[in-house]
Amino acid sequence: MGTLDILGRILTISLFATTLRMTTPVLFATLGGVFSAQAGIFNVGLEGLLTIGAFFAVVGSVTTGSAWGGLAFALVSCLIASLGFAIIHLELGADEIIVGLALNFIGYGLTNFLLIAMLDSTGFFQSPLLVGFETIRISLIDNLPVIGDLFSGHFSLVYLSFISVALAHWFLYNTPWGFHLRAVGENEEAAVAVGINARLMKYFGLSMSGVMCAFGGTFLSLAYLNLFSEGMPAGRGWLALAAINFGEGKPVKSMVAALIFGFTDALAIGLQQFGLPSQIVLMLPYVTTLVVLVFSAIRQQRRATATLAAAAAAEA
């Protein structure tokens, strides 16, 4: 087969549609991390929060018989978890990385234990009682040739994730509380000097991490798949950290990185049809993340030296 043929077989509309779907969980986690990053906290507990969200979404769905009920359960549990993080880090003064790691371990352990205690299963849980989300067809565009295939027929949470980017951007850059939050993260002294309650802002940032990861986790267990399994997030919480790093904590820029990861995820699935070993192909997202990390670091370093040089030139 010629190269163009191969490319044509890989780069299908369906691939891009899948990309949007695969981006959603990473994007939610990324937005969660963005809020705490803007408040000045490096939240490494996103993976744990996603796990907790995914698990309690399932519990909620089975209990209430509805997918939205599942989401509600996920929101409450993730909020509790992130408030716990906040209290231990902000009030007891513990190192944010250690607390974040603890959150991951506890999330993993707790959900595994509760899997047995509450749902009577080991390793993974699937049940006809589990009500997942349905996909939505947008009648306006559904019958259009390319656009319809790309943008219609996704889960509501997929649309919500991208809308959230816009909402996050609007909140951070156009509302007073957004300004206050970002001031706390960028120069806490300046914020305190004008009477902004820095602690409150940090609590808010961490709570939003919980909220966003609740959405992300719910998507994993009630939309993307209709089950819960051990280690479900599969590192998406870590990918989110890289996305935030790339996007310098800004919602739109970080979304770009999240899309790249979603794309490599979708690509990995697509490439497997070519008989490439699945293990190599599945490495794609993680290798891409590393490359993205290195590039952002180099770029940030170059920019820092340029600023210094410019300042020097201005002085001269």
Binding site: G93, I97, L101, G109, N245, P277, Q279, M283
Partner: protein
């Protein structure tokens, strides 16, 4: 270089102070040890209680269950041997975490370094034939060490060169290592005769000799114990170890005093990878006899928890690792004996971690309080 000769006593008498000081010092050490022991005992109690509650919740008898757990871990020579064997890799992983964390290098890539070390060891084990036991084993273990260290190298290089955050880079390398070794096992180095996806079996000359015939306990355990003492000596008695620790406590101060900060971070990361890579080699050459993709149940992560439990102290890692190993083995026995699922063990571990992390936070609090309180002079 001369040292000043004339002692100039200051406003207090020197000799009385020394005896008074050493008596009260002994007392304060004893008090400190007692407090620490009491703290840990309390945390352990609470964690076991939490697990007990879970068992009750599941409708079973906690005492019976814990009894089975205890028996599974320590009931009889074979079971003890099994627990000790399981502890070998945990000790090495714990040491790896301790060295890195004490230098404030966040090596979260232990799992990946473990995998690479394990595979390299397996490869040396099944690729070379006809070697004498001593040489083959040495090569196998060396392969684990080198592979583990090399897999840690990219992360620390990126950190030093371009300030790439090592938390995320080491995590990515984890996934890459696990997938890469899975690939190697599935294709180039596949053993067609195997039931589980794995490499060919290691030569007999590459297997670690057993310590107790009939059990799985092998010299890997001795190796782990010895290394715990070696690492302890290194961290607290060698000048390199001293540098690592000072860099970990206050890197700016270390730089001001003339210490090589970047080299220390580099050394810490490489040692960390080497130690956990060795752990991988020990698991493969000591227990499994070949590399299989599912050989690790999270030993790398356990290593981190063990180190945090032991306050990152190399010798403290030993009892913590033994405890973890006992819990894991006991859990499996408990499950088959009483039907209580071994996930209860995860609860105990999780609660333990929660409280240890809280304990770590309480230590922070204590230290802060001590700064406000009137000080000792």
């Amino acid at each position: 270089m001369t040292k000043r000769e004339e002692p100039k006593p200051s406003s207090n008498e020197s000799s009385t102070i020394t005896t008074r000081a050493s008596r009260s010092r002994l007392k304060s050490i004893l008090i400190e040890v007692a407090i620490q022991a009491a703290n840990y005992a309390l945390i352990l109690l609470v964690s076991l209680l939490a697990g007990g509650l879970v068992i009750l919740f599941a409708g079973k008898n906690p005492i019976e269950a814990y009894g089975a757990l205890f028996d599974g871990a320590l009931g009889g020579t074979l079971k003890i041997a099994d627990t000790l064997d399981r502890a070998s890799v945990l000790i090495l992983a714990g040491l790896a975490a301790a060295v890195a964390f004490r230098t404030s290098v966040w090596n979260l890539g232990l799992e990946g370094q473990l995998y690479m070390g394990a595979f390299a060891a397996a490869w040396v084990g099944f690729s070379f034939h006809g070697l004498p036991l001593a040489i083959h084993i040495t090569l196998v273990l060396l392969a684990g060490i080198v592979a583990g260290a090399l897999w840690a190298l990219p992360a620390i290089f990126l950190k030093i060169r371009w300030n790439v955050n090592e938390v995320v880079s080491t995590l990515m390398l984890n996934y890459i290592a696990i997938l890469f070794t899975a690939y190697l096992v599935a294709f180039p180095f596949k053993d067609p005769a195997a039931l589980f996806p794995g490499t060919p079996v290691l030569d007999a000359s590459a297997r670690l000799p057993r310590l107790i015939p009939g059990s799985v306990l092998n010299i890997g355990f001795i190796l782990a114990l010895v290394l715990a003492f070696v690492v302890n000596w290194f961290m607290f008695r060698s000048k390199q170890g001293y540098e690592l620790r000072m860099v970990g406590l206050n890197a700016r101060f270390a730089g001001y005093a003339g210490m090589p900060v970047k080299q220390s971070a580099f050394l810490a990361m490489m040692l960390s990878g080497a130690l956990v890579g060795l752990g991988g080699a020990v698991v493969i050459a000591g227990f499994f006899g070949r590399f299989i993709t599912s050989f690790s149940v999270g030993y790398g992560w356990d290593g981190m928890l063990i180190s945090l439990l032991a306050q990152n102290h190399p010798l403290g890692v030993i009892p913590a690792a033994l405890f973890y190993a006992g819990l894991s083995n006991g859990g499996m026995a408990m499950q088959s004996a009483t039907g209580v699922d071994q996930a209860v063990v995860t609860v105990v571990k999780g609660t333990l971690l929660a409280f240890v992390t809280v304990k770590v936070f309480i230590d922070f609090l204590n230290r802060r309080l001590r700064k406000w309180a009137p000080s000792t002079s």
